[in-house]
């Protein structure tokens, strides 16, 4: 069965600094991979997704992620973090719409 691991529970970065959030997955075939963001009191919003093709995918709000099959990873990056990026970030993997597995999340704090 597929699974997702987000090794970092909490990350703090300074505003303007670069960001990388880690995601490792376990799945036998090529997975469908997603990153969602959840702001306080809000539902999850899709940032980006990978199904196939170019392994570097661009998302909304200036985020990008790179699929690395050899490392079973799908890390999320942003070159310059803004204070409004403070939120909880979830990685998800799924071959099936109703069998998507979400990681436990990484909480991002942005220092002024």
């Amino acid at each position: 069965a597929q699974s997702v691991t987000q090794p970092d529970i909490h990350i703090t970065v300074s505003e303007g600094a670069s960001l990388e959030l880690r995601c490792n997955y376990s799945y036998g075939a090529t997975p469908y991979l997603f990153w969602y963001v959840q702001s306080p009191g809000q539902g999850l919003q899709l940032l980006l997704k990978y199904f196939s093709g170019d392994t570097l995918v661009q998302g909304i709000k200036g985020f990008e992620a790179e699929f690395k099959r050899s490392q079973s990873s799908f890390n999320l990056r942003k070159p310059s973090v803004h204070w409004s990026d403070a939120a909880e970030y979830f990685c998800a993997v799924g071959p099936e719409r109703n069998d998507m597995r979400f990681g436990a999340g990484t909480r991002l704090t942005v220092k002024p």
Binding site: F51, N98, G103
Partner: protein
């Protein structure tokens, strides 16, 4: 347009009581999902509705949990004889068609069982 809405936003109930949580998906979306988000945990899939097909209930943790979707639109998640371990945020999401993986989430209902 309007997004997914859920009500109530917060619910506090006593152990042993029944609760009903409501989800209004985006109009025209055929797929609807319920998830549970416990503190420090990822999202746990509960149930999936797709059109008029029989729902996928494989994620429901016990027979105290049930859900229905009326008229292919509004859905209600019911938890009977609530337990303290049911305390969590319950999220609903809808999706426009069977081939889409893009789920649109509501703000959730925070359930606290005392």
């Amino acid at each position: 347009g309007a997004g997914v809405s859920q009500s109530p936003s917060n619910k506090v109930t006593e152990k042993g009581k029944d609760v009903e949580l409501r989800c209004d998906p985006i109009s025209g979306h055929t797929a609807l999902y319920w998830y549970r988000q416990s503190l420090g945990q990822g999202l746990e899939f509960l149930i999936y509705f797709q059109g008029n097909s029989a729902p996928d209930k494989s994620g429901l943790p016990s027979d105290r949990f049930s859900a229905e979707r009326t008229g292919g639109s509004v859905s209600t998640l019911t938890i009977q004889r609530t337990q303290q371990e049911d305390s969590a945020v319950y999220l609903c999401a809808s999706s426009p068609d069977p081939s889409s993986y893009e789920q649109y989430f509501g703000p959730g209902t925070r359930l606290t069982v005392t």
